[in-house]
C-alpha cells in the first residue's frame, strides 16, 4: 500500500489539489489521515479518483458517482479499474441521448440494416477502450451491461401533428403506461393550441 502526500496524489491522478479537497467535502473521497501538510492519502484514494474520471466520461453527475462509489469497497474499485470499460453505445444513440437531454427531438432514423448495426461495429472498432484492450491483447467482453438502457432494436419514430406548425415525434414501442401519458399529452397539447383551457 503506497502512501501519498496531497501533491503526490494529484500527480499520480492528474487532478488538482482543489479537486481533491472538493471531492472530500462532497463525500466522494474519505478524508485523509492527518491534516494540513501532514495529510496522507492511499491507493484507495488514487483508485477512486481514477474511477471518478472514468464515470465522468460517461457523463454521470457527481451525486450519481458518489452513490455508486459508496456501494464499493476499495478492492472492488481496484477490480473494476482493472477491467476494460463496457462497450460504448453507437454515435447515433449517443447524439440522440444528448439531444433528448436538451428536450430536442432527434431526426428520424433510417431502418437498421440486418445483422449488427454497422454504426455499432464501427463505434466499437474505434473506441479508445477497444484500442487499449487491443494493446493488452484482450477484447472487451461481450454482453457487459452498458450504463444506459439500449433503445429497443426495432424502434420506429411516429410523427404526430399537433397543429399546422407543431409536430411531436414519438419513439415506439412505449410501455403501456408511457403510451397513456403520451396520449394525454397529445390531448392536452391540442386543447392548449386551440386556445382552450385544459
Amino acid at each position: 500500500m503506497s502512501s501519498y502526500s496531497l501533491s503526490d496524489l494529484c500527480s499520480v491522478s492528474g487532478v488538482t489539489p482543489r479537486t481533491v479537497r472538493y471531492y472530500v467535502s462532497q463525500g466522494l473521497l474519505r478524508p485523509p489521515t492527518g491534516s494540513g501538510p501532514a495529510a496522507r492519502y492511499d491507493d484507495g484514494h488514487r483508485d477512486r479518483l481514477r474511477m471518478i474520471r472514468r464515470l465522468q466520461r460517461d457523463h454521470l453527475p457527481l451525486a450519481e458517482i458518489r452513490s455508486r462509489l459508496d456501494a464499493l469497497t476499495d478492492a472492488e474499485v481496484a477490480g473494476l479499474l482493472a477491467e476494460p470499460a463496457p462497450p460504448m453505445d453507437s454515435a447515433a444513440d449517443y447524439i440522440a441521448r444528448l439531444l433528448a437531454g436538451r428536450g430536442v427531438v432527434p431526426a428520424p432514423r433510417p431502418a437498421p440494416p440486418p445483422g449488427p448495426p454497422i454504426a455499432l461495429q464501427r463505434a466499437m472498432a474505434s473506441s479508445p477502450e477497444r484500442l487499449l484492450a487491443m494493446h493488452a491483447g484482450v477484447a472487451p467482453p461481450d454482453g457487459v451491461p452498458v450504463t444506459e438502457p439500449e433503445p429497443p432494436a426495432r424502434a420506429t419514430w411516429e410523427r404526430v401533428t399537433l397543429s399546422p406548425d407543431l409536430e411531436l415525434h414519438i419513439r415506439r414501442p412505449l410501455t403501456r403506461e408511457d403510451a397513456r401519458r403520451v396520449d394525454r399529452l397529445i390531448g392536452l397539447a391540442r386543447q392548449i393550441l386551440r386556445g382552450e383551457e385544459p
Binding site: 465522468q56 460504448m88 454515435a91 436538451r102 454497422i118 461495429q121 463505434a123 474505434s126
Partner: protein
C-alpha cells in the same frame, strides 16, 4: 517512430519529471492506393454577426469544398443561429448531390443567436446516421461567435466532443473574425480530435475550408495512438496537446489522423516515484493505428535511479529540451492571452516571466534555449498593455499549433511540402 529522452538518470529521494520526444513519420500516399472516403458535415454559424462578407465567403467555401469531393464521399450541411436547420441531409457527393448541395448552401442567410451546441450535434447526427466502416467522419464547425444559446459550458462541450470522437466522429473548427471564443474552440477540438483554425480575414475563409477538407482527403493513417507502458506508480502525460487515456500502467495518447508524409513530434512527460539507487525503470512505447498503417514498438534506454551529484551533472539532450521549452512557452502565451484580455496585465507578464526564468534554469549556454527565453522576455511590454483582439487570437492560435506540432496556420508539417 523514434524517441529520445532529455535525461536518463532520475532522483532516488524525490519524484522526477523526465521528457520523451517521440518523432513519428507517416508514409506517403501512393497514387495507386485509393484514399478512405470522407463524410463531412459542414456546420455553419449564420447568426447575425456573420452577415456580410463572412457568410458570403463561407457559402462559397462550402460550395467549393463540396465540389472537391468524389462520388464515394458523403456530405451534409447544417446551419444554426438560435435554431438549427439541416440545409442538406447526408448526401452522396455524386454529380446531382454536389449540385443540390451547392444550391442549398447558396440560400443560407445570416441573422439570430448562436446555438453552437445543437448545430454541431445536428451535423454530427447527419454523419452518425449513415456511418460506414472505413469512412472518415468529420464535422467542420464554421463560427464567428460565442456559444450563447443551448449548452455553453466549455467542459460540457469538451466532454461531448470526446464522446463523439470516441464513436468515430472528429470535430474541426474554423473561427472567423475576432469575436469567436478561441478557448472554447480549442477545448472542443482537443477533445474532439481535430484542429481549430484562426481565420481573421473573411477573404481567407475559402482557403481555410479547402485546406481542412484537403487534409481529410489526404489521410494515410487513422486513429493513430501512442501508448506508453510503464512500471507501477509512474505517471505518463502528454505535454503536447493530445487527449490521453490512462489505465494505470498504460497511457494511450490519441493522435488522431495523420496525412501523407506528415511528421509529428509528440512530447510525453513521465513522472517517476522515489526509488533505490541503481534501480531501473523501463518505458516501452507503442505506435498503432486503427487501419494498421502505423505499427511500431520501441523500448527507451532504461531510466536509472542515481545519487544527487550524478543526477545533477548528467548530460541533457538539448533537442528534447528545446521542444519542451517551446511548448511551455506556448502554454504561457495562451494563458497570457486570457489574462491580458481581462486587463490583468500583472498576471499576463508574470506568467511570461516565470516561464522564461524556468527555461533559463536549464538553458546553460545553449543558444536556442536562451533565444526562446529571450523572446518571451522581449514580449513583456506587449503583454503588459492592451492588445488588439485580432492579435490575441493570432497569438493564441500560433501557440496552440506549437502544442500539436503544426505550422502557424494549422496545417500538418510534412517531409515534402505539397505546394512546393
Amino acid at each position: 517512430m523514434n524517441a529520445t529522452t532529455d535525461r536518463t538518470y532520475i532522483r532516488c529521494n524525490g519524484r522526477s519529471d523526465r521528457y520523451i520526444l517521440v518523432r513519428i513519420q507517416a508514409p506517403a500516399s501512393t497514387r495507386t492506393s485509393t484514399r478512405d472516403p470522407l463524410a463531412a458535415a459542414f456546420v455553419l454559424d449564420r447568426s447575425g454577426s456573420m452577415s456580410g462578407p463572412k457568410i458570403a465567403h463561407a457559402r462559397d467555401a462550402i460550395a467549393s469544398a463540396i465540389g472537391s469531393l468524389a462520388e464515394a464521399d458523403r456530405f451534409a450541411v447544417v446551419a444554426f443561429d438560435h435554431g438549427v436547420e439541416t440545409v442538406m441531409p447526408r448526401t452522396a457527393a455524386d454529380g446531382p448531390g454536389r449540385e443540390a448541395g451547392r444550391q442549398a448552401v447558396a440560400r443560407i442567410a445570416a441573422g439570430g443567436n448562436t446555438n453552437l451546441y445543437e448545430g454541431w450535434l445536428r451535423g454530427a447526427e447527419q454523419l452518425a446516421q449513415g456511418m460506414e466502416p472505413g469512412m472518415i467522419q468529420r464535422v467542420l464547425l464554421l463560427t464567428d461567435g460565442h456559444a450563447n444559446v443551448g449548452v455553453t459550458d466549455h467542459d460540457e462541450l469538451a466532454r461531448t466532443a470526446a464522446g463523439l470522437r470516441d464513436r468515430g466522429i472528429t470535430t474541426w473548427a474554423l473561427g472567423f473574425g475576432d469575436g469567436y471564443d478561441e478557448a472554447l474552440l480549442d477545448a472542443i477540438v482537443t477533445a474532439g480530435g481535430g484542429q481549430a483554425l484562426d481565420v481573421a480575414d473573411p477573404d481567407r475563409i475559402p482557403a481555410a475550408v479547402a485546406g481542412a477538407v484537403g487534409e481529410a482527403l489526404d489521410v494515410v493513417a487513422r486513429e493513430v495512438t501512442l501508448t506508453a507502458h510503464v512500471g507501477r506508480d509512474l505517471v505518463v502525460e502528454p505535454l503536447s496537446r493530445f487527449r490521453p487515456m490512462s489505465t494505470g500502467e498504460r497511457t494511450t495518447v490519441l493522435l488522431g489522423e495523420l496525412v501523407s508524409e506528415q511528421v509529428l513530434e509528440v512530447v510525453l512527460r513521465v513522472n517517476f516515484p522515489y526509488g533505490r539507487l541503481g534501480e531501473r525503470q523501463v518505458v516501452v512505447l507503442e505506435l498503432a493505428s486503427a487501419d494498421g498503417t502505423m505499427n511500431a514498438r520501441i523500448a527507451l534506454p532504461d531510466f536509472i535511479y542515481a545519487d544527487t551529484a550524478t543526477n545533477d551533472h548528467q548530460v541533457r539532450d538539448r533537442v528534447v529540451d528545446r521542444t519542451v521549452a517551446r511548448i511551455y512557452a506556448a502554454r504561457a502565451r495562451k494563458g497570457a492571452v486570457g489574462t491580458n484580455r481581462r486587463g490583468d496585465y500583472r498576471s499576463a507578464v508574470g506568467e511570461i516571466e516565470r516561464t522564461a526564468a524556468r527555461i533559463r534554469q536549464y538553458a546553460g549556454d545553449d543558444r536556442e534555449l536562451n533565444a526562446i527565453a529571450d523572446e518571451l522576455d522581449a514580449e513583456r511590454v506587449m503583454w503588459s498593455t492592451p492588445r488588439m483582439e485580432s492579435d490575441l487570437k493570432r497569438a493564441y492560435s500560433v501557440a496552440s499549433m506549437v502544442e500539436v506540432d503544426r505550422t502557424n496556420d494549422g496545417w500538418a508539417r510534412r517531409t515534402v511540402d505539397p505546394d512546393a
